[in-house]
Symmetry: C2
Subunit: 194 residues, 2 copies
DNA sequence: CGATTTTTTGAATCATATCAACGTACGTGG
DNA sequence: CCACGTACGTTGATATGATTCAAAAAATCG
């Protein structure tokens, strides 16, 4: 089950077979069933997780009890509360599975050791973070400049797979739209396309 | 004028004097006067810039001609269109100076060489990006869960310096609020505090 | 100073949220 | 495999936070 991770890393950097093996040895497989948690608010985010199979989400709960989806992750993506992971602070986020999932997790101590043993991976994580940062910045630009309908259209274009796998109310939450509004938006799109 | 950059890097990683010198040699000082551009939409983002003095902003212009501030940068911060810089695509952003500024820029070829010559800097950029990524993710959470007034309050708390240096309409743009609305919000805060 | 930019204020409007009700789909245990 | 319960999606009526437009006041700049 390390195949996907190996391929994922080779997409960004070059590693020998033995380096790949040593890298993989730092990760632990973990099964997260639907509705089960990988992280709950108030805990410390012990792991960074690579999704081998399934779909997870990271979300916060505001004072009114409303959930807000910070991030989705499907196969070949990473998910974590990076802040809590790095600082050791309590997490304000929850991470749970939207589908039965299998992830590969690595804790902080292991990751630090791994980076010391295989310094080429510094480069890997740098490249990964560059992409992630660009992604979040585009999401910000999108919320600053586009209407709810336009944001939904962009979401469909950017994440066609997710749009089909994830419940509509979760997408609404991710986009910062009330689920009722997203329903109306979809109706409007369908009518317009007619 | 490389002092700030040297200290900035030493905050995250350890480097010898000679490594610091070689690092610095890859950067070029550049003066950007107020209202002058470091990058304009349609160009390729040639540089990553470290702000030594002054204040700059990165913004997009939407079809209606409205500006949306993606990022501010003051002393000890970095600013760039990372996407354009990394991919060589045309930029959709503009970067200009809100104050007379001095920055240290590095282009892609130089950065790549620098990272090969001083691999420890891989770690530096990884750490830098981790922080940046956390920052943008918090901004997203904020726009998903908080009202315009709450977002402004959080901005004041998070960036007290910026709040004083940057015109109000720029802060409004950064927060995704109309400048008139921010004016009313401020009035409301002042009234409430009375 | 005069000129331009920024901020404020008011009134009307709009996009989206909220509340409530109903329909539908799903999956879980009997 | 059906039936029931819970979660999800839709729809309508109403409410509201924030925008828009217009104009005046205040601040900043050359």
């Amino acid at each position: 089950m390390y195949e996907l991770l190996r391929a994922h890393i080779l997409k960004k950097i070059e590693l020998t077979e033995s380096e790949l093996d040593r890298m993989a040895s730092y990760f632990t497989p973990k099964r997260v069933l639907k509705k089960h948690f990988l992280l709950q608010e108030g805990e410390v985010g012990k792991y960074i997780a690579f999704v081998d199979r399934g779909c997870l989400r990271c979300y916060s709960v505001d004072p009114k009890g409303e959930e807000h989806v910070i991030q989705f992750a499907i196969e070949d993506w990473w998910i974590s509360d990076l802040q809590s992971f790095l600082t050791g602070e309590w997490s304000r986020y929850n991470i749970d599975a939207l589908e039965d999932s299998e992830v590969l997790v690595i804790d902080k101590i292991s990751r630090d050791s791994m980076l010391v043993e295989i310094p080429k991976l510094e480069r890997f994580f740098r490249l990964l973070l560059e992409r992630s940062y660009i992604g979040t910045q585009q999401r910000i630009e999108c919320t600053l400049s586009a209407s709810a309908e336009d944001r939904y259209q962009m979401f469909l274009k950017t994440f066609p797979t997710l749009a089909q796998r994830v419940p509509q109310n979760q997408i609404a939450s991710y986009l910062g739209i009330a689920p009722e509004s997203l329903s109306r938006i979809r109706k409007h799109i369908a009518d317009t396309a007619k």
